[in-house]
Structure formats: C-alpha cells, structure tokens
C-alpha cells in the first residue's frame, strides 16, 4: 500500500520529458566513453565502471519504478532525495576507486625509478671492478661515459 503510494508520488517528480532527457544523456555519455576508448584516451579496464554508470542512468530513465523501489528500500519518502543520495554514494565510491588506482600506480612508478637507479649504480660498480680497484681512475672513465 505504502509502496504504491510512493510510486504514485514519484510519477509526479519524474515527467516523461525528464525521462527522455536522462535517457538521451545516458546514451551520449556511453557514446563518449566508446569514443575515448577508440582514440586510446581511456583504457578498457577503467571504462567498465563508467559503462555501468551509463547503463544505470539509462535504466533509471526507462523504468522509473526502479528508483521508487530503491527509495522505499532506503526509507526515503522523496524519490529526488533518494536519487541524489545514490548518485552521491556512487561518486564517492568512484573517487575512492581512483585513489586506490593512483596509490598502486605511485608504488609502481617508485619501484620503476628504483630499479633504474639500481641498474645504473650496478653498472658503475661493474665498470669500476673491470678497471681495477676502487679509486680515482675508474671514476674518470665513468664520468666520460656519463657525458657521452
């Protein structure tokens, strides 16, 4: 009974015009993602989450009932408030996801820089060994190879 009432109230907030606009926006959004992937500006593995978001938008536009069910599940009377809360939570999740990805990449970059530095130093050590004991002479050779 209460669910039916909420659905009735919801219809007032979501007119067919807003539904069409939302659906078109969702489609344009997904086309944009496709285009970004096609131009190698976005990698497939990071695009999945955006397609899910686009499909969610489309689903919400096509079947407003979903939104009302979600609103009643959350215990929110106003479907608009429910919509904003859900979108906000999703965005928060996305932002966190990006922080995780960023941290991983920062660690990878650091390790890459370390590997390169170590390799160069090992080369220098090997060169020194080839030129005899550690001293000023091998250092000169190292300096020259550094310049060229």
């Amino acid at each position: 009974m209460r669910l039916a009432f909420a659905a009735e109230a919801g219809q007032v907030h979501l007119t067919s015009q807003t539904r069409i606009v939302a659906a078109v926006l969702a489609l344009v959004f997904m086309l944009m993602i496709l285009e970004l992937i096609r131009r190698d500006r976005l990698q497939e593995r990071y695009s999945v989450i955006w397609f899910v978001a686009g499909l969610g938008m489309l689903a919400g536009a096509a079947f407003p009932g979903i939104l009302e069910v979600l609103a009643s599940l959350l215990g929110v009377r106003n479907t608009n408030v429910a919509l904003f809360s859900i979108v906000l939570l999703l965005l928060l999740g996305l932002a966190l996801n990006f922080s995780v990805i960023m941290s991983r990449q920062a660690a990878q970059i650091t390790r890459l820089a370390q590997e390169r530095a170590i390799e160069k130093a090992s080369q220098q050590a090997a060169e020194r060994q080839r030129n005899g004991s550690s001293g000023e002479q091998p250092l000169q050779a190292e300096e020259q190879s550094f310049e060229s």
Partner: protein, 241 residues
C-alpha cells in the same frame, strides 16, 4: 663479508663529498653508495668525484623511497650488511661503524643510532634539537613504544645498520613518505631484533631542516595515522632471502 654504506641525498652538494670522504676514511673496506633522490644541484657530480657509487632516482620520491633503494641495492648485490647515514654531516661515521659492529657480531638484526638514549646525553651536547622537533620526538617515542612494547628513544633517526633479513623486509615494504617510524614498527612486528645504541650527533653541516611548526603538526598527525594502520598489518610474513 661485504658491507655497503649508503647515503640518501637530496640537494646536498655542499656536504655530500665531505660525508663520503669521512665514511671512506673510517670504513675503508665498505662500499659507499649515494642514493640521489632527484637532486637538482650538483649532488651527483660531487658524490662521483668523492669516489662513491651513485644510484640516481629520476625525480624526487621522498626519503623512504631513497632508503628503500639503498636496501634493495644491497640485497640485489649480495651485501651481507648495510648501514645508512644522513648526507648533511650530522652523523659521524665512527658511530655508524659502531652500529655496524652490533649487527655483524649478531647482537641485532637492525641497529638504530639514538641521539636521546641515556648514554648519548652524557657523552656530548653537540646536538641541540629545535622545539618542534622535541615535541614530535616525544610524541612518536610514546606511541611507538606503546605499539611495539619496546622502548625507543629516537624514532626518527636516520642512522642505522642492518643485516640481510632487514634488507629483504625493507626492500619489499617501506613506507615512501613515513619511512623511519613505520619501518621500526614493521621490523619489531616481524620478529626482528631491533636495538638502539646511544650515538653522538653533530649540528648540520649544510642545508636546513624541513621542519616548521605547521609541518611538524602535520607530520605528527600523519605519523599517528601510519602507526595506527601499522598495528593492523599482518605479522610474520615470510621474508624472501
């Protein structure tokens, strides 16, 4: 027995050569490596001229990443022991040699040089910490002691000596921007023997400390978060050899 002494350096052209010369004189049998943390000045050139190996990070990554580079280099190149000291001339190499002896003679896996240890204060008053440093020091001392149930007096000391167990652990995991404190916590949690030794430290030869009051407060806050998170890390992960 091969020993590596490494020196993390970031824009320390004024003091790095002197430190290298001192280390080579005090520990002639050890190899000296300078880990250049993306210096913009002539640190690399000064270090090479002074006869050190140089591992140069292409951009500034923070002290933790620089120290980890040193541990990784030591591990990869088969060194039995390693030690590190600051590049600004605060750390006398004779004291580093004492830390190394502690590790080579098997009394500890990781030896830390402490400015504040009971024995150090009686020895000399060359080192005068600033006010904000003193606050940070006592806060960290308290919480690290709480976290590890082992007494530490100098939690941010950059003068340490280590064996291969420590190298393996630190090459795998070392906090990039909160190196000193978390590494101590980690080492104790992994069941390594960590020991503090009183050492003498000097005033800085060149450069200036990065600690201002605001940054100190931020530093302390970050440190507490790091320590708290560290308490929930898994214990006793197998270390690669």
């Amino acid at each position: 027995m091969r020993t590596l002494v490494f020196i993390p350096a970031w824009n320390e052209e004024a003091s790095v050569a002197g430190v290298i010369a001192d280390v080579r004189k005090t520990m002639p049998e050890a190899d000296v490596l300078v880990v250049d943390d993306g210096s913009a000045d002539a640190t690399v050139e000064r270090a090479r001229e002074a006869g050190a190996l140089v591992a140069s990070l292409p951009f500034n990554q923070g002290l933790g990443a620089a120290l980890q580079t040193g541990y990784l280099y030591a591990l990869r190149n088969g060194y039995d022991f390693c030690a590190h000291l600051d590049s600004d001339g605060q750390h006398p190499p004779e004291e580093v040699a004492r830390l190394l002896a502690e590790v080579t003679e098997g009394r500890a896996d990781l030896a830390i040089g402490s400015r504040y240890h009971a024995g150090a204060i009686a020895g000399s008053d060359d080192y005068r910490p600033t006010f904000s440093r003193r606050i940070g020091t006592s806060v960290f001392r308290f919480f690290l002691t709480l976290a590890t149930r082992q007494r530490f007096t100098d939690t941010t000391s950059g003068m340490r000596a280590a064996n291969r167990r420590v190298m393996a652990l630190f090459s795998r995991h070392y906090s990039p921007d909160f190196a000193e404190i978390e590494s101590l916590q980690l080492a104790v949690r992994q069941g390594l023997r960590v020991e503090e030794l009183p050492v003498r430290m000097l005033e800085r030869a060149g450069g200036s400390s990065f600690l201002t009051p605001v940054r100190s407060a931020f530093f302390i806050f970050k440190g507490l978060v790091v320590l708290l998170v560290g308490q929930f890390r898994p214990r006793h992960v197998e270390t690669e050899r």
